[in-house]
């Protein structure tokens, strides 16, 4: 059958485009959407429904499409749930129907349709309730296999996406008669305007109807306006852009289809995710036609009247013999225009008794469509006029149940629309979203003339608020017919009448929901899944709500709408995450020795945003532990070098610096002598430990605080809060200097020799001492501190000298039989000494738990002091830090394992503690652990059972002091 007539305003008829649908090669035109091209190829069956797998054809010509969702092969993978109505045709496009197997015409799961009586509303809840034993083994797999529309690709989505930001005075959403007049008025006033349109072409409904504006064809008028807007430098036109959400502060989310319609997108992203900030916005999104729920209304070939008109005007698709079923004046007028233009209107059916028309086609007032026939597509409808039924052969049934203003964006901040009895639809109220107002059909002004006038008025109001002078506008002449309708929410006749086509919800399901007590609209929605498909019930929610009102005996406004939430149209996860994949996911911080460490072959591990070397492998190493043991040995026996620049460094300077530090540390820092360093503990105000680190007094009014790598940001933020909130007027300044200094630990018995080579002469620094040093012309800082338990120094230089210093120190250490050490060895060294990290400071521990209650000064107030003394934060019931040794030294243990009494069952109720850190100690020849155990300090020597369900480990351990090696500390002091 030939399906194309002449013309088609969207088409370039001279340019054929070849594409594949379900493996069949077809030809369309440049300018086609996939849906229009399929219709032109006489393909009406475009998909299967979700639950019953019923054959479905395209219903609409826009983004609200519930049925024609296809799988698109692209970018070496495929994208599910692409709306055929929005996807532009390009050569080589390959699309496939989804939700069917083995083919769309013979779908095995269509057997579900035979069981429809058992699959009514709430069938999941009823069917899969019992027996309980079947839940996991039978029901869940069944539900999972059947769930979801379309299928997900297994591979990563490698298609390009982009993210962009835009700002404007006025955002105009929609480019129909209203939107164009808004943009024109505001554009002439000099406002910075963005005009966003979902379609490829601007013009909205003016592209899909005959009509005259200002004495010229509507399309010509559109072209004239667009020419002027394009010439205005202050107006940006954004076609192919859907505004999907409104957010606080005039922020709008938008999705632009950039490359998806191109055969060769090159570097163009598939979509661009826009964040548009507008001082004012006008919603000119028009209205959506609603279908009528009558038996058999889901057969391919049943479409909205406006869609039939669009495909005819824009894409020259001949719908064949058309029966129009409408309940309003607009439908009747539209049918007459289409008939005048040569469309074969087989009949017009209108439920209203009191309308008549001198039409060139049979006109049945007081009539309804009560049945349809045709296995894979419509062949015939049955109509009932005043009790008498008759059949009409046809190819297309065009439905028009009236129009719903497209108001969802006005409801995204929670406000509800109001019911307008005159048009039997909900309309937005002014002020539902600050700065956003609806105009034209989006607020129920349906005639073209009304839209043009409303557009000018809305623009004038917005301009006044923007402080701009509105230009004088002459309103163009246009159609201004009245719109009258009699609502027809459902045709009461035998057979299933569909509301939500995508999710297979019938009028009967909604009525059943009400009978079973799900009478609130939000309950009905969830019970029946009405409106929960990708189209979000754009064409069906209103009908479902009316049927629910009927079933409960309430009015429609009493029944109310469900909540409107963003996104208004589906947004792909790829677009939402644009720019945040792979290395873009979060920033990477690299130390000055990073390149050197990588050159030495060190695997890098993440520490917050930082990357640090895990270990330094050498030829012949059996595994990482060989390297770790060797590096631990460097420090214990000769000398090791480690880049510790990632530790947070905060300069605290000023006359009140000491007083301030006394307030944030548990200990007293103001009495620290210049040139001395002290270990300090910071608490949160709730009495738990925030962080630990050192504090050095560099000068009278100059302190340097170090933090752990993990908590550097948190501590800085905390110190700034304490300073600004509680220390007003104090003379001090804080600055993060973490990245300004490269700091290298040199640790081990030969540390002094290495330093001697670098500094010429090693200053006679006591343990926990500090002094400034010169390395040639470079001013550095030398701290005698140790995180390894050996004699150790940390040498800091301005960051630009860090790489050289590291190379130099490593070479010197290697010359003495030592070398660089990584995080693994650093961890072993500190566990052997019982030094804590954030594995122990897990946010729940107190100073008491760590055995550091002695560090809490009783002579002053400090952050966390009051709360740390409250009952429950100290005492034998607390989990306290202990050391662990397995009875069998070679029994491996790992952090995260739980500890139990030897004969207690391994259940949560019997957990006595858990392992926080563990390692194999080459120094002591045994596995070691640190753990938090109930009343642990009083239980040294006790034996417990370690259970690690995850790794399948179980062994006996005994509790001991957490300092395993050199408990007197002589090695680091002397």
């Amino acid at each position: 059958m030939k399906r194309r007539v002449t013309g088609g305003s969207a088409l370039d008829r001279g340019r054929a485009v070849r594409f594949h649908f379900d493996g069949r090669e077809m030809t369309g035109c440049r300018g086609d959407t996939l849906a229009s091209a399929l219709l032109a190829n006489n393909v009406r069956l475009m998909g299967r429904s979700f639950k019953y797998h019923r054959p479905r054809g395209v219903l609409t010509a826009g983004s609200e499409e519930p049925n024609a969702l296809v799988e698109l092969k692209r970018d070496g993978t495929f994208h599910p749930n692409i709306r055929a109505t929005l996807q532009e045709l390009h050569s080589g496009l390959e699309a496939r129907v989804q939700n069917c197997w083995p083919s769309v015409r013979h779908d095995v799961m269509a057997v579900n349709d035979l069981f429809a009586p058992f699959l009514s509303a709430g069938f999941y809840y009823k069917t899969f309730m019992w027996p309980r034993a079947f839940w996991e083994r039978l029901y869940e797999p069944v539900i999972r296999r059947a769930a979801g529309l379309g299928r997900l690709p297994r591979a990563h989505d490698e298609s390009l996406h982009e993210r962009a930001f835009a700002f404007c005075d006025l955002l105009v959403i929609g480019s129909g008669p209203t939107g164009l007049m808004v943009a024109l008025t505001a554009g002439r006033a000099g406002a910075d305007v963005i005009l966003a349109e979902e379609d490829r072409q601007m013009g909205g409904r003016l592209l899909s109807q005959a009509g005259q504006i200002d004495g010229q064809g509507a399309e010509d008028w559109v072209q004239g306006v667009l020419a002027e807007l394009t010439a205005l430098p202050n107006v940006r036109l954004m076609p192919r852009t859907s505004i999907f959400g409104t957010y606080d502060g005039g922020v709008f989310g938008a999705l632009e289809r950039v490359g998806q319609h191109l055969a060769e997108p090159g570097l163009a992203p598939r979509e661009c995710y826009w964040r548009i900030t507008a001082r004012r916005a006008i919603l000119a999104s028009g209205a959506l036609e609603r279908p009528i729920a009558h038996p058999g209304n889901d057969r391919p070939g049943v479409m909205l009247l406006s869609a039939v008109a669009s495909y005819w005007h824009r894409w020259a698709v001949d719908p064949g013999r058309v029966v129009v079923f409408g309940n309003n004046d607009h439908a009747l007028a539209s049918a007459q225009v289409l008939a005048d233009q040569g469309m074969q209107i087989a009949a017009y059916i209108d439920p209203r008794e009191d309308v008549a028309g001198d039409t060139p086609f049979p006109f049945h007032s007081g009539g309804e469509v009560v049945a349809t026939r045709g296995r894979h597509g419509l062949r015939e409808v049955t109509i009932r006029v005043r009790g008498r039924e008759s059949r009409i052969a046809c190819d297309t049934l065009a439905l028009s149940g009236g129009w719903n203003p497209t108001l969802a964006l006005t409801c995204h901040h929670g406000a509800r629309p109001v019911w307008d009895e005159a048009i039997a639809a909900f309309v937005p109220r002014p002020g539902m979203v600050p700065g956003l107002e609806a105009a034209g059909a989006a607020r129920g002004r349906f005639s073209i003339a009304a839209c043009l006038a409303d557009g000018v008025e809305a623009a004038q109001a917005a301009l006044a608020e923007l402080g701009l002078k509105a230009p004088d506008m002459v309103l163009p002449e246009a159609e201004d017919s009245a719109y009258a309708l009699r609502p027809l929410w459902q045709v009461k006749a035998k057979g299933r009448a569909w509301l939500d086509f995508a999710n297979d919800v019938t009028t009967k399901d909604v009525t059943l929901a009400a009978q079973e007590g799900f009478a609130s609209v939000e309950h009905m929605k969830r019970y029946t899944t009405q409106g929960m498909a990708p189209d979000q019930g754009k064409s069906s929610n209103m009908g479902a709500l009316a049927v629910l009102a009927d079933a409960t005996g309430g009015s429609i406004p009493e029944t109310g709408t469900t909540t409107f939430r963003p996104p208004f149209v589906p947004v792909s996860i790829g677009a939402l995450g644009a720019g945040a994949k792979g290395a873009g996911f979060r920033p990477e911080r690299r130390t000055t020795s990073d390149a050197q460490a990588r050159a030495m072959g060190a695997p890098m591990i993440e520490a917050g945003l930082w990357y640090r070397p895990s270990y330094f492998p050498q030829a012949g190493d059996a595994d990482w532990r060989t390297a770790c043991n060797r590096e631990t040995g460097f420090v214990r026996q000769t000398v090791g070098v480690c880049d510790v620049s990632t530790l947070g460094k905060i300069a605290v300077q000023g006359p009140d610096a000491g007083r301030f530090l006394d307030f944030v540390y548990t200990g007293t820092m103001s009495r620290l002598a210049v040139g001395r360093v002290r270990y300090g503990l910071m608490l949160r105000e709730d009495g738990h430990v925030m962080d630990d680190g050192t504090c050095a007094r560099l000068n009278e009014h100059d302190y340097l605080v170090t933090t752990t790598t993990a908590a550097a940001g948190e501590v800085m933020q905390h110190l700034e809060f304490v300073q600004q909130a509680f220390c007003r007027g104090w003379q001090l300044r804080l600055a993060s200097v973490t990245e300004n200094w490269a700091q290298m630990a040199v640790a081990g018995p030969l540390a002094g020799e290495v330093l001697g080579h670098v500094l010429g002469e090693v200053p006679d620094l006591p343990f926990m001492g500090y002094c400034p040093v010169q390395i040639g012309a470079v001013a550095g800082r030398l701290f005698r501190i140790s995180f390894s338990g050996e004699k150790g120094y940390e040498l800091a230089v301005p960051a630009r000298f860090g790489a050289d210093l590291f190379r130099h120190l490593v070479a010197l250490a290697e010359g003495l039989g030592g070398g660089a050490y990584g995080m693994e060895a650093l961890n072993v060294l500190r566990i052997e000494k019982g030094f804590i990290t954030h594995a122990e400071i897990d946010g729940r521990v107190t100073a008491f738990d760590l055995g550091m209650q002695g560090m809490m000064s009783s002579k002053k107030d400090f952050i966390g002091r009051a709360a740390s003394q409250r009952p429950g934060l100290t005492g034998p019931e607390r989990m306290q830090l202990v050391g662990l040794r397995p009875s069998d030294p070679q029994a491996g243990i790992a952090a995260g394992a739980s500890l139990f009494q030897p004969d207690a069952p391994a259940t949560a109720a019997h957990v006595e503690g858990h392992v926080t850190s563990a390692c194999y100690s080459p120094t002591l020849g045994t596995w070691l652990g640190l753990a938090l155990v109930v009343n642990g300090r009083a239980r040294h020597g006790a034996r417990l059972r370690l259970e690690d369900g995850l790794r399948g480990q179980r062994c006996e351990v005994s509790l001991c002091d957490p300092v395993f090696f050199d408990p007197e500390g002589g090695r680091m002091r002397d």
């Binding site: 922020v251 901040h413 600050p434 933020q717 909130a725 709360a867």
Partner: protein, 85 residues
């Protein structure tokens, strides 16, 4: 959403961190009774309407009290914690 930083002007929400109600600035005296500390640390109103939140603007390090309406989402102003009474 945008917030007014007393130091930087109106800035994008993603530069800020919300810590909670501005009550956190009203620290009790060190020797205040446990009830006062409990109230300070744990008890917060949940107003429907005008509220004062504590936000941190990371780029400049300013802590600010933001006046905001939890019903309308309107942001009506802000004060640097350092300047607040």
């Amino acid at each position: 959403m945008y917030l007014p930083c007393p130091c930087c002007g109106w800035r994008d929400m993603r530069e800020f961190t919300c810590i909670g109600a501005a009550d956190y600035c009203d620290r009790p005296e060190a020797d205040a009774p446990p009830e006062a500390w409990d109230n300070y640390l744990h008890l917060r109103d949940n107003p429907a309407g005008p509220a004062r939140d504590l936000w941190y603007h990371a780029p400049c390090g300013t802590w600010l009290e933001v006046a905001r309406d939890t019903v309308t989402h309107a942001v009506t102003g802000s004060t640097a914690v350092e300047e607040a009474g």
